[in-house]
């Protein structure tokens, strides 16, 4: 009965989405306040309906109702509760429900917190949101029903893919979806602005916090995913250039570009058409990612069970949303009031260069991701380009971008004093040179890693230097100046500093990773990076729904025991799948990563060890970047600064406001 209730709630949400899409849009065209006002309650009703559906499916997973086909295919009564809950989004239908639920949450947030928006813009943006919801709800109801029943119900379910049975599943997909789907906000506002024919500073100020929220969730989501892949896939890698990873990287690059170009719209009333285009593309990349993951056109380790029919459905949706948006762009964008021209050597010029680099990087990743498909359609077979392609193309774009990131914030708006900016970077240049020298002294002279380390040092010191210059750190009253510094400036410092830290980690772990693979009998040992590891024993144990093979490995350095590592192999009999659980010893500056493999049949076991210098900095850096997003989001101009509302009678005592 409850699944039927969920199904009905989905159908109801479809109807509500149709109303929310049509009437407010019509009302906005006719300037009819009553019709426009429908958008807000409709967005709330839609959220309610979808939450009911979500709750119904969650209930089916929790109580293991195997008469629901999705539950029977992806859950099992022996699974721990957390994986029965998270199993909801570990499959195609359930993850779509999560997708529309998050879409509805964002829509309701615009309705609830968008009081400072001009009513017409709000009505139109909510109508576009509803149009997106409508398509995906129809997709669920007609081609991917999560509430489909099985008769007779099987006594027990098949299992959730064991690789997904990890605490990471509880956080990674919801975070990632908050990012993907959050980009729909920028998209909806862009469409609404194109219909209105007006993009101005106020528009940018409304769009930017939503983009920022989506961007920080996407950053955190990618970070969690990378960490998860690192400890669970057992190869010691943290990024595989898998199509599905690329599907999250492309929207991230576009969203990063959008964040920066929206500043130019806000401050200088320029780059409007380009910003609108980026808003469309950022969400467009999200949709392309959804298509790639679910249609089976590209081979990937992450792909959901592929189904060409579903692929066709998403392709049609994509053609309507992206194609429609770009057609509207081609028609309306030429009529946007052009902003002023600006000097190439200025803050806005630097932001434009940032955008060109990021757009090129996104195009590079897109080409690499689609290359197999391009050849396949030409009948040339399915091949992949792997890390060699990305190392040769993506790195040469991103490293100069990171280097320029240190310069941009030092340039002033309109016309910058480049010589002055460069002279303020002397300290950064010194740090970069010192960092490269140190790396050369420690690890030797391959050029690319040294460049990476130098760029990381340059960006970190440049960012700190900008912060020190802004707050005049060494003069009296610096604390007060720091407290008065806008949160958005804090956010920038954190995000750029985080990027520098992440680059340090990426360079170090990619360049100086060591590995040691050997067959060991208990009592025998191997060496890696100055450590000695000795296989003590291999034993068996039982998990809730799997058998464990667990090795005890003593890790030693200079004769002293550092720690005992217990890497595991888990065999899930229901799914007939084996997973590896790496054991990781971290010093903070490096990880020693051990994995137990197959027995060699002669009493020995394959043991793999990896030494990963600086690897943890990747995730620390990424989380600092996301934290920068959070801090920036709390900037007072987003809380109270929207122009209309500022003019209304809300008076902030000057001292208090400034101190916030």
């Amino acid at each position: 009965m409850i699944p039927e209730l969920g199904h009905f709630a989905l159908a109801l949400a479809l109807v509500v989405a149709f109303i929310q899409m049509t009437l407010p849009m019509w009302g906005a065209a006719r300037n009819d306040g009553r019709l426009m006002a429908l958008a807000k309650p409709a967005a709330m009703a839609q959220l309610l309906c979808i939450l009911v559906a979500f709750g119904a499916l969650m209930q089916a997973f929790i109580v293991s109702d195997f008469s629901v086909a999705v539950v029977a295919r992806n859950s099992n009564s022996a699974q721990p509760l957390i994986y029965r809950i998270a199993g909801l989004w570990g499959n195609h239908e359930g993850s779509l429900l999560l997708w529309v639920a998050i879409l509805a949450i964002y829509g309701a947030a615009v309705a609830a917190f968008g009081d400072n928006l001009p009513p017409r813009l709000q009505a139109r943006a909510l109508a576009v949101q509803a149009a997106i919801a409508l398509g995906f709800l129809a997709f669920m109801l007609f081609a991917s029903n999560p509430f489909a029943r099985l008769d007779p119900a099987p006594p027990d379910g098949a299992e959730l893919n064991p690789i997904l049975q990890d605490p990471g599943l509880a956080f990674h997909p919801p975070m990632l979806y908050l990012g993907y789907v959050g980009l729909s906000m920028a998209f909806s506002f862009a469409i609404a602005a194109l219909i209105e024919g007006r993009v101005d500073a106020a528009w940018a100020r409304w769009v930017r916090p939503w983009t920022l929220a989506a961007w920080l969730c996407l950053t955190a989501g990618i970070c969690f995913g990378s960490r998860w892949a690192y400890y669970t896939l057992g190869w010691g890698g943290w990024w595989f250039w898998d199509p599905v990873e690329n599907a999250s990287l492309m929207p991230w690059l576009a969203a990063t570009a959008l964040l920066h170009s929206a500043i130019v719209v806000e401050k200088r009333d320029a780059l409007k058409g380009w910003t609108i285009l980026l808003a469309i593309l950022a969400f467009g990349f999200s949709l392309i990612g959804t298509f790639l993951v679910r249609s089976g056109v590209i081979t990937s380790v992450h792909a959901f069970a592929s189904d060409p029919l579903r692929g066709l459905f998403i392709l049609v949706l994509m053609a309507i949303y992206i194609g429609g948006a770009l057609a509207l762009f081609a028609w309306r964008a030429p009529f946007l009031k052009p902003g002023g021209l600006f000097a190439p050597l200025s803050r806005e010029g630097a932001l434009l260069i940032n955008n060109l680099f990021l757009a090129t990087a996104a195009a590079t990743v897109l080409l690499g991701t689609l290359y197999p498909l391009i050849l396949d359609v030409l009948g040339l077979g399915t091949v992949s380009v792997g890390p060699p392609y990305y190392n040769a193309t993506f790195m040469p774009i991103m490293l100069p971008l990171a280097a320029l990131t240190a310069i941009g914030p030092l340039l002033s708006w309109k016309r910058a004093d480049v010589a002055g900016a460069m002279s303020r970077l002397k300290f950064a240049a010194l740090v970069a040179a010192a960092a490269a020298l140190l790396a050369w002294w420690l690890e030797g002279g391959r050029p690319l890693p040294l460049i990476g380390i130098a760029v990381a040092g340059w960006l970190f010191a440049g960012t700190l230097g900008e912060f020190a210059g802004r707050t005049r750190v060494f003069e009296a009253g610096a604390i007060g100046r720091m407290r008065r510094m806008p949160r958005s400036a804090w956010g920038m410092t954190l995000a750029h500093g985080g990027l520098a830290i992440a680059i340090l980690g990426m360079t170090g772990s990619a360049a100086w990773k060591q590995e040691d693979i050997r067959d060991l009998k208990p009592g025998e040992s191997g060496t890696i990076a100055g450590y000695v590891y000795r296989l003590e024993s291999v034993g068996a144990a039982e998990g809730p729904n799997y058998h464990v093979t667990r090795a005890r490995i003593t890790l030693m350095r200079d004769g002293d025991t550092v720690t005992v590592l217990e890497p595991e192999k888990r065999f899930y009999p229901e799914a007939e799948t084996t997973t590896t659980e790496a054991a990781i010893h971290t010093t903070g500056f490096a990880d020693v990563y051990g994995v137990i493999g197959e027995p060699d049949g002669k009493g020995g076991w394959a043991v793999r060890f990896y030494y990963e210098p600086l690897v943890a900095f990747i995730w620390i850096g990424a989380l600092i970047m996301a934290l920068g997003g959070v801090v920036s989001l709390s900037d007072r101009r987003y809380r109270i600064g929207a122009p209309l509302r500022a003019r209304a009678a809300r008076i902030v005592p000057a001292g208090k406001g400034a101190a916030e």
Binding site: W235, F240, W241, D242, G273, L277, I280, L281, G284, I288, F291, S295, V297, T299, S300, V301, P308, G311, L312, L315, M318, A319, I322, G323, L326, A327, F329, A330, A333, P334, F335, L370, Y371, P372, L373, I374, L375, D376, V377, L378, G379, L380, G381, T382, V383, S384, V385, G386, P387, P388, E515, D516, I517, G597, E598, A606, R608
Partner: protein, 181 residues
């Protein structure tokens, strides 16, 4: 607004339309494999001399390909279709009429070893093309890619992408029967 400037705004739409058309063709269940033959077919193998993956094992030189039929498979541990192809290669390796040699394309030796240890090693020799030079000389599109070389060291067959049971039965094996006479 000038005409050329207006065209600029249509560009994104045109690019997306191309992409969507490509996706649509990608979805077609029985795509027409209008095979473009490799220019290398009928030509002698390019000269190469590659070092073995594991020190002490034999390497592979182009001169050594004379006098036997060889299937050369370019692969890498980071390539998903390569993983899928290994079981088929394991079957092929049992065929005494050919020698199956693997060239690890731009792959760290440790990764290659882990890959072969995990999935099984179908190859008689495993050699390393670290720079991708040999792959360029062969005209490799990407990995996996396989070349059948006859007793005179001439390339007779090329498959870009993973071998499939169908390709093995209908193309590779008949050709092999002819070449091994």
């Amino acid at each position: 607004m000038s005409r050329s400037k207006r065209l600029l705004f249509v560009l994104p739409l045109a690019a997306f339309a191309t992409l969507a058309a490509w996706f649509w063709m990608g979805l077609a269940p029985n795509r027409d494999p209008s095979l473009v033959p490799s220019v290398m077919i009928g030509r002698p193998v390019p000269a190469f001399d590659l070092a073995p993956l594991v020190a002490g094992k034999p390497g592979l030189k182009s001169d050594e390909l004379k006098g036997r039929v060889t299937l050369i498979n370019f692969f890498a541990s980071w390539c998903v279709p390569c993983r899928a192809e290994v079981p088929l290669l394991m079957d092929l390796a049992r065929d005494k009429r050919l020698e199956l040699d693997g060239i690890a394309y731009k792959n760290k030796p440790g990764d290659t070893e882990a890959f072969l240890a995990e999935l099984g090693n179908p190859f008689t020799r495993v050699v390393v093309d670290d720079t991708g030079r040999t792959a360029i000389d062969f005209g490799v599109y990407g990995v996996p890619e396989s070349y059948l070389v006859d007793k005179d060291g001439v390339i007779r067959f090329r498959e870009a992408g993973p071998l499939t049971p169908d390709v093995i039965e209908t193309q590779l094996k008949p050709l092999l029967a002819k070449l091994s006479q």
